[in-house]
């Protein structure tokens, strides 16, 4: 998106409950995430699926397999290959996006694959292939982290053995203040933007990217902030999976 016009006020000082706090353009506190909605098993044709919403960002992930590796020469003798596709729907942005995979989407597909590879127990399915499709239905910043959150849930829903679920969230510096879960407007004017994804039970970082400039102290603080958000998302992920199981029990 082309950034034009005057920079809006993104951080204001507001008195809440007698205390002066920093409030963001949408009324959130600096360490507050957007409302998150997670649903598992939203598609019937896929082996596993999940829908994740971070405020206005909405993504759907679908998992197929393990199945026969195609093309066959891509298969590996000791483990399964993960094939990821991150794609934004043409209607996901304010202006129509071409439906073809752009350079950015190809790169994010790779980023997604590399974030999932450490947690998927691929060695259980040698020469097979696991397909992960992520479709961005609506984009409002933080799509790659939402995509990772959704993809790991879809894998768990498909019954693919995982070392841990993966949750992701972005942190950034807006108007000199570290903020959690940036949206599109904040992202456009941020001095730094850092998407982080972790496997919380293993205490492992699986994705860490950064755009912009942070000091070392700010980086450490940002990582702590991301961790706090990730633990909250992880709790919601587990809740969503358990909710689906409760439904299955009622049916059967």
């Amino acid at each position: 998106m082309v950034v034009s016009g005057e920079k809006p006020t993104l951080i204001r000082k507001v008195v809440r409950d007698g205390k002066e706090v920093l409030v963001r353009h949408d009324g959130r506190l600096v360490d507050q995430m957007r409302p998150i909605r997670i649903e598992v098993g939203v598609l019937s044709n896929a082996d596993g699926s999940a829908l994740v919403e971070y405020g206005g960002t909405r993504v759907i992930a679908a998992v197929y397999g393990p199945k026969e590796a195609m093309p066959k020469y891509m298969s590996l003798p000791d483990r399964a290959i993960l094939r990821c596709r991150y794609h934004m729907a043409p209607f996901s942005t304010a202006e129509r996006k071409t439906p073809a995979l752009t350079r950015r989407e190809v790169e994010l597909s790779k980023v997604l694959r590399e974030a999932l590879e450490p947690v998927v127990l691929t060695e259980l399915f040698p020469r097979a292939m696991i397909d992960v499709f992520v479709e961005v239905i609506q984009s409002d910043g933080g799509t790659r982290t939402a995509a990772i959150t959704a993809a790991s849930l879809a894998l768990a829903d498909a019954g693919v053995p995982l070392k841990d679920l993966v949750a992701g969230v972005a942190v950034g510096k807006v108007d000199g203040v570290l903020v959690l879960d940036l949206d599109e407007i904040e992202d456009n004017y941020a001095e730094a933007d850092m998407p982080v994804a972790m496997a919380p039970s293993l205490n492992q970082v699986v994705l860490l990217q950064m755009n912009g400039v942070l000091t070392l102290e700010e980086f450490h603080a940002a990582l702590q902030l991301a961790r706090k958000g990730i633990l909250e998302i992880y709790r919601l992920q587990k809740e969503a999976l358990r909710r689906k199981y409760a439904e299955v029990k009622v049916e059967g």
């Binding site: 197929y64 397999g65 019954g159 070392k163 039970s201 293993l202």
Partner: protein
């Protein structure tokens, strides 16, 4: 492991990454993995403990995902006959008729296609037949229909496409619509039997 903790763990619904026990306490089986001496759940399901044999596993809520292994039995369709001595079979269901997570294409060679000498695989199977096969090798995925329980489970008439019936006492399969007779390596599990 104390009895109280053990009782709490048995049947518990767990999610990937959840720590269950240590490797000193149990032998890990399916649905779990070991990380740094800790046995953790790998799938979401129920914990099952075999305290006599000291085994722990997680029972999945959906069917277990699997890929064809040597000795296992699968159902599939004949998807291509590429040579007189080679047929391709697309595996779709496992021996319990549970759908696989994807299809796997295996090769059936003439030497594994019949318990007697034949000249061509056309003498035992045809395109589109539904067959019960055993995996004899994983890579390349080689299949066999030699045993009596293996072979064609449902076949269709090459002339008119109708279902072929097995008649007790006759080697051939018979088409009830056009009267055509065809040869197959018929499994004892053949679905359509005409006793009339």
């Amino acid at each position: 492991m104390t009895a109280a903790r053990l009782q709490k763990l048995e049947g518990k619904i767990v999610l990937p990454g959840e720590p269950l026990a240590t490797i000193e306490e149990f032998l890990p089986e399916e649905g779990v993995y070991v990380d740094n001496g800790v046995i953790r759940a790998a799938i979401y399901g129920k914990v099952r403990i075999d305290s006599r044999n000291k085994r722990i596993r997680v029972e999945p809520i959906k069917a277990t995902l699997k890929i064809p292994r040597r000795g296992e039995i699968y159902y599939g369709f004949v998807s291509g006959i590429i040579r007189e001595d080679l047929a391709l079979i697309k595996l779709v269901f496992d021996s319990q008729m549970e759908r696989l997570s994807g299809t796997f294409t295996g090769v059936l060679h003439l030497s594994q296609a019949s318990d007697r000498r034949i000249e061509s695989v056309y003498q035992v199977i045809r395109l589109g037949d539904f067959v019960r096969v055993q995996v004899v090798n994983e890579h390349p995925l080689l299949l066999s229909i030699k045993q009596p329980q293996l072979g064609v489970v449902a076949a269709f008439c090459s002339n008119c496409g109708a279902i072929l019936y097995r008649k007790p006492g006759i080697d051939h399969l018979v088409c009830k619509r056009c009267g055509n007779r065809e040869l197959r390596k018929v499994s004892t599990y053949y679905m359509f039997v005409d006793r009339g």
